[in-house]
Structures are given as structure tokens and as C-alpha cells.
Symmetry: C2
Subunit: 231 residues, 2 copies
């Protein structure tokens, strides 16, 4: 398939601080741009809004104990930093347990099943707006070998997270070898550029992404440990 | 600083297959959208166009020998795959040596100094168009723990590759801890969504990215080996 020629990424304004009593889909629908959502739009949501709506906040707990509890396996420890594998299989700092953008004394956990959260949000947005949008739930992860963090997809609904070029040929007739692009992560990163960390934009809309609609999950992005050369 | 509210990513059409005799900046300038480039635009260019313009193509060589020659250090071998550190410090598959989108029998190497390539391209675009654009040179890298590849920055000119939130406070008054976003990689990934692998779009324009102008380099994205927990 061809990539699209123009992509627009819009920060969705006016989503308030989310609590467990909120209908997050309704807040996102209310923040839609003029003209509303369109079929094929991708709605990227910061996981923290999902976690808060799902009550995944813990008060008063020792953060390090919470990190241990949220980790399936610890990969590395260095100073106060723990790199661990979450129960979902994601490898990230502190098992995704985060004390920023939550009330002092509380920590926010990752959603229990971010793919399920994405599918539910997609269905509810369809119900509320009529539009068949895809949903990507994002978190901010560090990487090996490269400084700085980027946003990646931890929940996906409605798109194939990958664009697979295997078997296609380039303009010279060479077969493109083993090029599988994780578009879900690129969409999450593009959304971060308009969402920021402290601007109160918990969601962004991406229009024009040449991605394949269909079932897909962020669980499928997790590289099976036996295929991973850096565990 | 605030992130921008809307970002546009446009694939630049009509850039022909690049050779060493081409003035790549002139080709990119000719592909500018109606209204031309604006100050603050980010031009993302696939490294292969840079490498070809700089004559970084090798014919007839044994690919594996070329990969060894381009590697400062081999990190892992698995089947035909080599994960190595390039002389620039980037860790990637096959030291960036690539046989796709080049004539059969040839391989393409990474630019010798992608930051210098980016600075030169930025200066030449300024000369040709009058616009003060930033330049990001991208390549497609795999990642640990996550399947699929994404585009990242291997050369940068005119922007700080990082957006540093350290010391800022969230809406609850918590200090945001150690959140340094690698916007250069997110810009490269966003551009990939419109550039694709086989569409003949060697460059993209990103308008509205809330990034800081100023000196910056992709060399600075390389995590110092002594700080890396996964070598």
C-alpha cells in the first residue's frame, strides 16, 4: 500500500483532568475538531487518561513496592532506576508506575489490558460520534542506545500496528527485505509532538495516516523474549 | 515551552532518483509545497538520498565484509543478522549497510558525518529558498523488545533534538522528573508515515512542530556506552 501524502496531527483541546467518574470517550468526542471525527482518523490517547478513568491509581503506597508488584521480571537496576518487564510484556522504566500528573502521594499504574481499553474506547467513540476511528494508547518509554524518550503504543484498536513491506520490490526491482514498520509507534510519537507533557492535552487526532484498518493489538508489538537478542 | 497545537506532515513529491551529480538541496527546494518553505519548517530526508548524493555507494563488495568495515564494534550476531555499533555510535542492524533502493550489486552506506550533511543541506536550502528550515536525516532502525522498525534521526541541524521537561511542574505541582523527549526521533518517525519505503518520496516537510530552534546534533542522541545498561 502507498503511504499517504499528507498527515495532520491535532492536539485535542479542552479535555479536563480525568477521574474514575468520567466517560473518557465523551470527553474526547466533545474535544473533536470542527467537522467531528472522520472514518479512518486515529485518536491517540495518553495512557494516563485511560488509567485514571479506569481507577488505576494507588495512594500512599511505597513506589518501589508498587514497581515490584507491577513487574513480571526485573531486567536491570541502576541507582533508583528499575528497567522491568510489565505483565503485558512491555519493557520500560519502573514498570510504567508514574508519579507525575497525579495528586501528590499517589502513583498511576498502566491499564490492566490496554488493548481492551483501546477497543472499548473505539467502540464508545463509534457509538457517540458515528465515526469509525482507530485508537492508539500511548506511553513514554526510554530506549537502549539512544538518549531521550519517545511515545510508543501500548494499546491499539482498529489498525494493523505494522506496515509490512516484505515481498514488495523497490524501483530497482530488488525485493525489500524484512522491512516491517511499526506505524503504531510512529503514530504515538507524532501525537506526542502536539500533546506534550504539561499542556493538558491528553489526546490527539491524526488524519491522513496511510495505515491499514483492521484488527490489531499492541500486545503483538512485544517481541517474544526468545527472539530478543538483548535480554 | 508549549507543544504546538497542529502539526502537518507533507511528503515532498517529484524528487528523482538521486545520484552523486545531483544538488540534493535543489531537488528538495523544487519539491517544496505551494508557498515554499517557511522559517521553522523541519525538512526530513531519508539518509539514502544523502548517501547517494555523497557517493556513499559500493559496488561488487561482499556485503558482510562491508558491514564489518562499517562497524566500530559488533554487539550481537544471529543468523545473517549483525547488530553493530557504527563509527558514529549508532547501534543498528548491519551497520546501516543496505541493498534496497540501490542498483543490484551495489550497497549503500550511511553518510560519513550525517550531522555535517544536515548542516550543509540546511545552509544550501537557506541559500536557495531564503527559509531557515531545520533538517533531520532519518534511517530505519529496529529496537530491542519491540517488533518492527521505526525511523529515527541520524543527522540533525537547526533544532535541539531534545525537549527537556526537567524542572517543570505538572498541574498538581509535582516536578516532572527526568522526562527528556527525543523530538528528533519523533519527527523522523512522523515523516516516515508519509514517506514510505517504495513510493519515491525521499523527503517530507513538517510544519508546526513545537521544537526549539538552535544548534543540535544527532551525535548527541547516542547514549554514552558507559551509561547504557544493555550493551
Amino acid at each position: 500500500m502507498e503511504a499517504g501524502g499528507e498527515l495532520r496531527v491535532l492536539g485535542l483541546e479542552g479535555i479536563p483532568e480525568v477521574t474514575e467518574n468520567h466517560d473518557l470517550a465523551a470527553l474526547i468526542a466533545a474535544a473533536a475538531p470542527d467537522g467531528g471525527f472522520h472514518d479512518g482518523d486515529v485518536v491517540v490517547v495518553a495512557h494516563k487518561a485511560i488509567s485514571k478513568a479506569e481507577g488505576r491509581l494507588v495512594e500512599g503506597a511505597e513506589r518501589s513496592a508498587t514497581i515490584e508488584a507491577e513487574s513480571a521480571r526485573i531486567l536491570r537496576r541502576s541507582g533508583g532506576l528499575v528497567i522491568s518487564e510489565t505483565r503485558h510484556g512491555f519493557v520500560c522504566a519502573n514498570a510504567g508506575v508514574d508519579a507525575s500528573n497525579v495528586a501528590p502521594g499517589w502513583v498511576c499504574l498502566l491499564p490492566l489490558d490496554p488493548d481492551l481499553s483501546a477497543r472499548r474506547l473505539k467502540a464508545r467513540l463509534r457509538h457517540l460520534t458515528g465515526a469509525d476511528v482507530a485508537v492508539v494508547i500511548s506511553d513514554t518509554f526510554g530506549r537502549t542506545w539512544r538518549q531521550g524518550q519517545t511515545n510508543v503504543a501500548i494499546g491499539v484498536a482498529g489498525i494493523d500496528p505494522f506496515l509490512d513491506y516484505r515481498g514488495q520490490r523497490d524501483s530497482f526491482g530488488n525485493e525489500l527485505s524484512a522491512t516491517i514498520i511499526c506505524v503504531a509507534d510512529e503514530l504515538a510519537g507524532a501525537a506526542e509532538l502536539v500533546m506534550g507533557k504539561s499542556t493538558g492535552r491528553a489526546a490527539a487526532l491524526i488524519r491522513g495516516a496511510g495505515v491499514s484498518r483492521g484488527p490489531g493489538s499492541a500486545a503483538g508489538i512485544v517481541r517474544p523474549p526468545e527472539e530478543d537478542l538483548f535480554r
